[in-house]
Amino acid sequence: MKNQPAETSAELASENLTAKISIILDSYGILLLIALMMIILHILQPDVFFTWRNLTNVFKQTAWQATLALGMFIVIVTAGIDLSVGSILMLSLMSLAIVSKAGFPWFVVMVVPIVVGIICGCINGIGITKLRMPHPFIMTLGTLYLFRGVGNLISGGVPISGFSEQVNFLGSGRIKLEWLLGSGAREYIPVSLIFVIIMYLVVWFYLEHTQHGRWIFGIGGNPNAARAVGINVDNMLILVYTICGGLAGFAALILAGRTNSGYPNAGLQSELDAIAAVIIGGASFFGGRGTVIGVFSGVFLMGLLRNGLNLMDVSVFWQQITIGVIIIIAVYLDVLRREIGTRK
């Protein structure tokens, strides 16, 4: 039998270092990846990429996806899934467009998508818990078809365009920076970016610093534990899916402002983008793990990737392939990191 060698201080130090690196990668790995990508894109496209205009464009394009992904994240933390967010977005958007066309005042038009989103999310939550669906996948797969069908039904499946300035403010409003950079400056901050940041901060606070937030993580970690300590798991799940639906409603409002129209193809497959962003951002598909900053990074990374490939005139087909590969690599790196983390 081999003698157990005494651990030298060098070995201990290197072990410590691995642990430290693993912690750093755990928290900031994706941010490093984003930084790396930005540097590469800057080198490849020195004139275009690092311009205010291009970067704000990325933010404007991804704002609604970021909102969608945030809702998806909360659901995934509970070890659930919501396949219907794209359809909720579409139904909310069409409802907004119809109400707007009917001539309702702007504040009603702005509230409608949120209310529709909340109702849809609530339906999902009640279906999953009270109808005792075997998995959220099935309930939300059903409502993926259902909500989009309703959206097509009420709108006749045709686009409805032209909203008031107030309605469009969230999606395409600009905060000019003349006061900061001198008159004549054309730089601005998109209102949607500010909104997304506020939204993320609110959800971060909710998840990390309120009881509900801890319960949501507890449910994701072990629903039986949550039940055993007296948490009403069913009600919490209904709440979580309702929040997710409400966020999809906000996403619809942002998208309405950005495109100035409601169109039946809105949000098609965006549930998959949202899931991808959450997973790339380091959240566990099995629940209980993940951070809000990770989700934001996941969305931003996908936005950057699309932007960079567009700038370099790479075809959409290659973009699909690249995103697919990135999802697999991101999760594989995660698996590797966990193995290093648990090696004793």
């Binding site: 606070f205 610093h209 801890r214 993580f217 970690g221 949550a226």
Partner: protein, 252 residues
């Protein structure tokens, strides 16, 4: 004799056509450790879940501190100071020790118009509580999934006792533990008893029953089978009760 802290009369539990419990009586007093034995499927865990509110009884009365009570969820039971340590421990591995101990009852402080969790106080309170129970962990911020089986068991016990429990129910607390860890859990049970807490413990290990219990009762096929004070019975007799065969005794 003092009035029992918990008294159950005629508890029945049906799962569809299956009768899990039929007309079961049980009582336990403050500072008393009651052992519940029985074969697999005898209804021990179901009976305990009726007391913890996780699986409410179909029929029967539960009296707590001399008053009739009804449990619809674990919250009702916990509000009365009835805590349960489940066989699968029911801990959330992704959360730190401290947050597991206070999950569902996190200490909060006002933050504007909302209650925010006081993470710092949660850590301090946990550490203090773990110290009183003489449970040693590196720190209360450690994730539960990084702990050993015995440490997890200790965390589950710590959670059960964090809020001045009157009655702690433990389902197979030593089943999954190494020998050294078993004695620690048994010590914990004795410490609870000395704090005048009533304890009900389910166990297959007769050694544990004899080490900590004052009284022992057996269930067989969902019914009361036998009961005795621990110093009036023997190892062999208890084994017989579990089999549902020899030396059937009337209740004490």
């Amino acid at each position: 004799m003092t009035t029992p802290i918990l008294q159950a009369k005629g508890i029945c539990k049906y799962f569809g056509p299956i009768t899990a419990l039929e007309d079961v009586d049980l009582q336990v007093s403050a500072g008393e450790v009651l052992g519940v034995i029985g074969d697999n499927g005898a209804g021990k865990s179901t009976l305990m879940k009726a007391f913890s509110g996780l699986v409410p009884a179909s029929k029967g009365e539960i009296w707590f501190q001399g008053k009739p009570v009804k449990f619809h969820s674990p919250r009702d039971a916990r509000n009365l100071g009835i805590e349960m340590v489940y066989q699968d421990l029911a801990l959330a591995g992704n959360l730190p020790i401290a947050q597991n101990i206070y999950l569902g009852r996190d200490p909060t402080k006002r933050f504007g118009f909302i209650n925010r969790i006081d993470h710092k106080r949660c850590l301090e309170m946990s550490q203090e509580h773990l110290d009183t129970l003489k449970i040693h962990v590196k720190n209360a911020g450690q994730k539960v999934e990084d702990l050993s089986g015995g440490q997890r068991q200790a965390v589950a016990v710590a959670r059960a006792t964090a809020f001045d429990a009157n009655l702690v129910i433990m389902d197979e607390p030593t089943a999954a533990l190494a020998v050294k860890e078993v004695s620690k859990v048994l010590e914990l049970i004795k410490r609870l008893k000395s704090l005048n807490v009533a304890v009900i413990i389910i166990s297959h290990r007769m050694d544990d029953i004899f080490a900590v219990c004052d009284r022992v009762m057996a269930l067989f096929h969902g019914k009361n089978f036998a009961e005795a004070y621990i110093n009036e019975t023997s190892h062999d007799e208890l084994i017989g009760w579990v089999m549902g065969a020899s030396q059937h005794r009337e209740t004490v």
